[in-house]
Structures are given as structure tokens and as C-alpha cells.
């Protein structure tokens, strides 16, 4: 059986950059657009990198800023100053 991790964001301007960054760093991830939300799922692991986000935004970005736009997640969380990782072991 496949083990999918997922993350869902409000469909807003901030999320656009998050989705771009995630798509770039997780080429195998599937992006699903639903009313008012964007859900991204991937097999076993999904990462958000601060560096990629800062490139997309053109400014400093704190990983915890994602807390404002996230709706839900599935998977074990590992967060530090440089990345946010969701994974199943």
C-alpha cells in the first residue's frame, strides 16, 4: 500500500509561492486544486526549503510563516530553521 504524506494550504497569494517552491523541490508531488484550498500529496516525503521560498519571494522567509496558511498535514513533522519536512518512516 502506498503511504502518502500531504499538506493543504488556503488558496491565497502566500500559498502560490509555497506551492511553487514545493513543486520545484518535490517534482513527484501531486498538486490538487479544490475550492478555496490547494492540497499537495507525495509518496512518503515532502519538503519545504527556506532557501527555495526566499528565492521565490525575493525576501527573507521564516519557516514558521507557513503556519499562517497551512490547513492540514499528514505525516511526521520535522522542522528547523532551514526546512519543513513531512514523512512516513
Amino acid at each position: 500500500m502506498s503511504q502518502l504524506v500531504f499538506i493543504a494550504f488556503q488558496d491565497n497569494d502566500n500559498a502560490r509561492y509555497l506551492v511553487d517552491a514545493i513543486a520545484e523541490d518535490n517534482p513527484e508531488a501531486e498538486v490538487q486544486h479544490q475550492p478555496a484550498m490547494i492540497r499537495i500529496q507525495a509518496e512518503k516525503r515532502l519538503v519545504i526549503n527556506r532557501e527555495t521560498m526566499e528565492e521565490k519571494l525575493g525576501r527573507d522567509w521564516d519557516v514558521q510563516e507557513m503556519l499562517i496558511d497551512v490547513i492540514s498535514i499528514g505525516g511526521n513533522v520535522d522542522e528547523d530553521d532551514d526546512h519543513f519536512i513531512l514523512q512516513w518512516n
Binding site: 503511504q3 493543504a8 488556503q10 514558521q64 503556519l67 498535514i73 511526521n76 518512516n89
Partner: protein
């Protein structure tokens, strides 16, 4: 010499907050300070292993929460100033909000009380900090939901006395008793029940597809509070998973205790969510996905991945998961049929779906809807059209544990009602399922005390013996305004006049409601 202030990294900040600001007691015994930590049999050998993966500290917490609130209230203001209620898909939708405000928002408040209490019960500082933040979050959810819906209260019926109704109304004893059960358990069971089983495994089903549905029905205020609350839930869910892993890693003796709690709270949560299934399939005029589809994504798929991850601790998927998975094709229809029959005793309106809505249900539930439910619904619609709107005047038998009327059917035969009974100390008790019966057998001394609304009415504890008196005097439901069929209701007339289709305002003074 001024030294440049080096910024602490996340891990260090979290470490300072949850370890270095705590202390070991010197003149009182630890077990006297935290007397509830051991009676459930959970063994904690090292609290320092507790880790919040978000590593949220108070400064960051206030900063991000303040930002969320500013965004949220800007939208509430815009919604109210622009008469947002006029732009929803259909006024039938508002009935889902009535159920939400009376059934769900008070649970947020109960969760606030629960976390405030259990936060005091743990000797580990990391757990105390996590519970404190979650308590504040839950209070925020309760308040923002009431603020969001106060606008609807100005324009629609049934939203005027939610807290009072939550404590008394027959179907609201289902959510109320769920949280009362959790709050009267020990601190570790509370966390397993609410943080893990409810938040992690099941709340996605409430807050994600339903709120997406609210957006699809033009309800800007609700989708915004829903997703704003859910942004906190993402933290709560993470915490729920960490809590379970933490408890399981502490001692092998914890495994069977946690498994029993997972079994219990999965089943209780699944039963509670019957209400949400009905809201999604019947109360959203524009539908996003069916309850069965939501169950497949958010329980079967996500829950499957989760329980596979927990296998290495010796945890298996919840008992009776197979029954719950099978029920995804039935529960929403069975619940709606029940509320339709008892629409004289609810603070919201009920109706039979229109033809295109029935077709949608047939398409989404090809195995069950046409065979078991559609003929009954078409019969009721026909009866209504001929002036005989059906109301059931017999009070239903309730399950002693989940408190839902025993309306659900057997897994292997949807034509047979599922009913279990046992005799305990000379009294006979009734249940909707093996799941609920097992919960009773584990702790009969707790569930014999259940406050069952139907029993209370028959015992004369609800200000009257007839439904009308109970509904108006005891529940504070305004008869002829809040209850009965949607078609022809004051809400329906108001909606038609908003949409300029037909202004019946002058006629609405005379009571035309079915009784």
C-alpha cells in the same frame, strides 16, 4: 563592549522555554503536585523526550496568532458590510451552520477547558506548554465561530441560543457526551482521545472538505474561520501524533492501554462524524465531494498511512474499522432520514433533496442509494407534495454510549438495524453497535450515568412530557420559526424575498407551518 545579539535558532528557543524555565520541586513530592499522572497506568520514564516538532515558542505563537486574527476579522467585517449572507448559494445551506454553531462550536469551548485542565496534570514542561497553547487556540476557535455566525443570526432563525441548546437538545447530546466522556477521563486518555484520535485521525473530515464546501457555497465567513481554525489544527494534529509516539516509546506496558483508547475513540469519533457526513451530502447545495469520497481520502488513505507508521510500536488499526469503512455508503443517508422525520424537534430545517440532488447521490453512491434510500425519499417527497409532510412522533431509542438513536444498520445487511443489548446489575442497556457495546463493557460504571435525552423526557425532567413543550420550553426552539420543513419556512420566505423571487413577507404573519 556591545556584543552583537546572536539570534537563537528554533531548537534552542524551544529548549529554553520547555526545559530551562521548568524546575524540579524541592519541598513537595512530585506525585503530590501531579496526582493524576499515574492512575491510568501509563508509565513515563523520561519527560525530556517530549518534543514539539513545530518548536513553537510563546513569542512566535502570539505573533502568528495575531496575524491570523487580523486577517480573519478583516474578512468578517467585509462579509458583514457587504451583506455576504445574500450571496450564499441557497438558504438551505444556513441550516448546516445552525448545526455547526450548536453542535461543534461548544466542543471547541469544551476542548479549551479540557486542555487547560490536563495541562496542569503533566509533570513534563513540554507537555504543559503544548496544552496551554492548544487551550488558547480552542478558546479562539469557539469565539471566532460565534463571531462569524452572529451575522447569520441577524438574518436567519435557529441561531439564537446555541450554548443553552447544546446542553439540552436531544441530538446535541451526541457531540456533548463525546467531549464530556473525554474530559472526565484521565489526562493521557484525554490526549489520546482528542489530540490523536479526534484531531489527527478525524477532524480533517470536518474542517477540510466541509469548509471547502462552505467556500463553494459562497460562505466567505465560514470558510475563513474554518481554515483559520484548521491552521491551528495542523499544529494540534502534529502534537497528537507526537503524543502517541511519546507515550508508546516510554514503556511497552503503555501499548495495550493506548490501543484500547484508540479503539474506543476512533469508534466514538466515527459515530460523531455521522452528523458531518449528513451536512456534506445533504446540507451543501453546491457539493464538493461526497462523504464517502471524503472518508476514502481522509480516513482510508491518510489513516491507512498513519497506522502503517505506528505498526512498529505494536499498534494496529482501530477495531471495527471495517464496519466504519463499510458504513461510509450509508451513514449520511440514515442520519438525514432521521433528522427529516424529527424536523419538528430541531433548531434547523430539513427537506427532501431536489431531483438533481437525488441524481447526484445516486451517482456518488451507486451501490446503496437507489437500492436502500432513494425510494423512501421519493415517497416522503410525494407525501409532502400531497399535504402530508411526514413527522415521526415516537421518541427514538438511544444508544447508551454514543447517544445516537439506534438508526444504523448491520455491516452485512443494510436492511437490518444494528442493535445490541446487555444486562448490567439488573438493568438492560441498549447500543447501536458492537463498538459502543464494547466501550460500555470496559467502563460500565461510567456509562450507566449517561444523561440520555429521551429517557430524561420520559422521566419528566425536561419541563413536560409532550414534544411541543419540551421543544419550546426546555430547548428554547421557537416553534414554527426554527423547526419543521424548510419549504414554506420563514427562512425560505426571507430568502425568496432577498432574491426578489417572491415577497411573501405580508403573509408570513399567519402560521402556515406544518404541525
Amino acid at each position: 563592549m556591545p556584543v552583537k545579539n546572536k539570534k537563537l535558532n528554533l531548537k534552542d528557543k524551544y529548549q529554553y522555554l520547555t526545559r530551562d524555565m521548568a524546575w524540579e520541586p524541592s519541598y513537595q513530592k512530585k506525585e503530590d503536585i501531579f496526582p493524576n499522572e499515574s492512575f491510568e497506568g501509563i508509565k513515563i520514564t523520561d519527560w525530556s523526550q517530549w518534543e514539539d516538532p513545530f518548536r513553537l515558542t510563546m513569542d512566535a505563537y502570539w505573533k502568528y496568532q495575531a496575524e491570523k486574527e487580523k486577517k480573519l476579522y478583516a474578512i468578517f467585517d467585509a462579509f458583514a458590510q457587504n451583506n455576504g449572507h445574500q450571496n450564499i448559494s441557497d438558504a438551505r445551506y444556513v441550516n448546516a451552520l445552525k448545526l455547526f454553531l450548536t453542535g461543534v462550536s461548544p466542543l471547541e469551548h469544551a476542548a479549551f477547558q479540557g486542555y487547560a485542565r490536563v495541562g496542569r496534570d503533566f509533570s513534563g514542561a513540554g507537555a504543559r506548554v503544548a496544552c496551554q497553547m492548544q487551550a488558547i487556540d480552542e478558546l479562539r476557535h469557539s469565539q471566532t465561530q460565534q463571531h462569524a455566525m452572529s451575522h447569520y443570526n441577524k438574518h436567519f432563525n435557529g441561531l439564537h441560543d446555541a450554548a443553552h441548546m447544546h446542553d439540552r437538545v436531544w441530538f446535541l447530546s451526541v457531540p456533548k457526551s463525546f467531549f464530556d466522556d473525554a474530559r472526565t477521563a484521565g489526562p493521557f486518555e484525554f490526549l489520546t482521545a482528542i489530540s490523536f484520535s479526534f484531531e489527527y485521525v478525524l477532524t480533517n473530515l470536518l474542517f477540510v472538505p466541509f469548509m471547502s464546501g462552505a467556500a463553494y457555497n459562497g460562505d466567505m465567513a465560514t470558510v475563513t474561520f474554518g481554515f483559520s481554525a484548521q491552521s491551528d489544527e495542523a499544529r494540534h494534529m502534529t502534537l497528537g501524533l507526537e503524543v502517541i509516539k511519546f507515550i508508546l516509546e516510554q514503556h511497552e506496558d503503555n501499548v495495550p492501554i493506548v490501543q484500547r483508547w484508540i479503539d474506543k475513540w476512533f469508534w466514538r469519533g466515527f459515530r460523531l462524524l455521522s452528523l458531518v457526513g449528513m451536512m456534506m451530502d445533504y446540507m451543501l447545495p453546491n457539493r464538493v465531494m461526497s462523504w464517502a469520497e471524503a472518508w476514502e481520502v481522509y480516513y482510508e488513505q491518510n489513516g491507512g498511512a498513519l497506522f502503517k507508521d505506528l505498526e512498529r510500536y505494536g499498534i494496529r488499526p482501530p477495531k471495527y474499522q471495517d464496519v466504519a469503512n463499510d458504513a461510509k455508503n450509508h451513514v449520511s443517508h440514515q442520519a438525514w432520514a432521521t433528522f427529516y422525520q424529527y424536523g419538528h424537534a430541531t433548531n434547523f430545517h430539513t427537506w427532501m433533496p431536489e431531483k438533481d440532488e437525488l441524481d447526484w447521490l445516486s451517482q456518488k453512491y451507486p451501490e446503496t442509494f437507489d437500492k436502500y434510500y432513494r425510494p423512501r425519499f421519493e415517497y416522503w417527497a410525494k407525501e409532502h407534495a400531497e399535504g402530508r409532510r411526514f413527522y415521526n412522533n415516537t421518541l427514538p431509542q438511544l444508544c447508551q454510549v454514543c447517544q445516537i438513536p439506534t438508526i444504523f444498520t448491520e455491516k452485512d445487511d443494510p436492511t437490518v438495524l444494528s442493535h445490541r443489548q446487555i444486562v448490567h446489575e439488573g438493568e438492560r442497556y441498549h447500543f447501536c453497535s458492537d463498538g459502543c457495546c464494547d466501550i460500555f463493557k470496559d467502563e460500565p460504571e461510567k456509562y450507566v450515568q449517561a444523561w440520555l435525552p429521551v429517557h430524561q423526557i420520559y422521566q419528566g425532567n425536561c419541563e413536560g412530557g409532550d414534544v411541543e413543550t419540551v421543544v419550546s420550553k426546555y430547548y428554547h426552539i421557537n416553534i414554527g420559526e426554527d423547526n419543521f420543513e424548510y419549504i414554506g419556512s420563514p427562512d425560505h420566505k426571507r430568502w425568496l424575498s432577498i432574491k426578489g423571487k417572491q415577497s411573501d413577507d405580508k403573509e408570513s404573519g399567519s402560521s402556515q407551518d406544518a404541525a
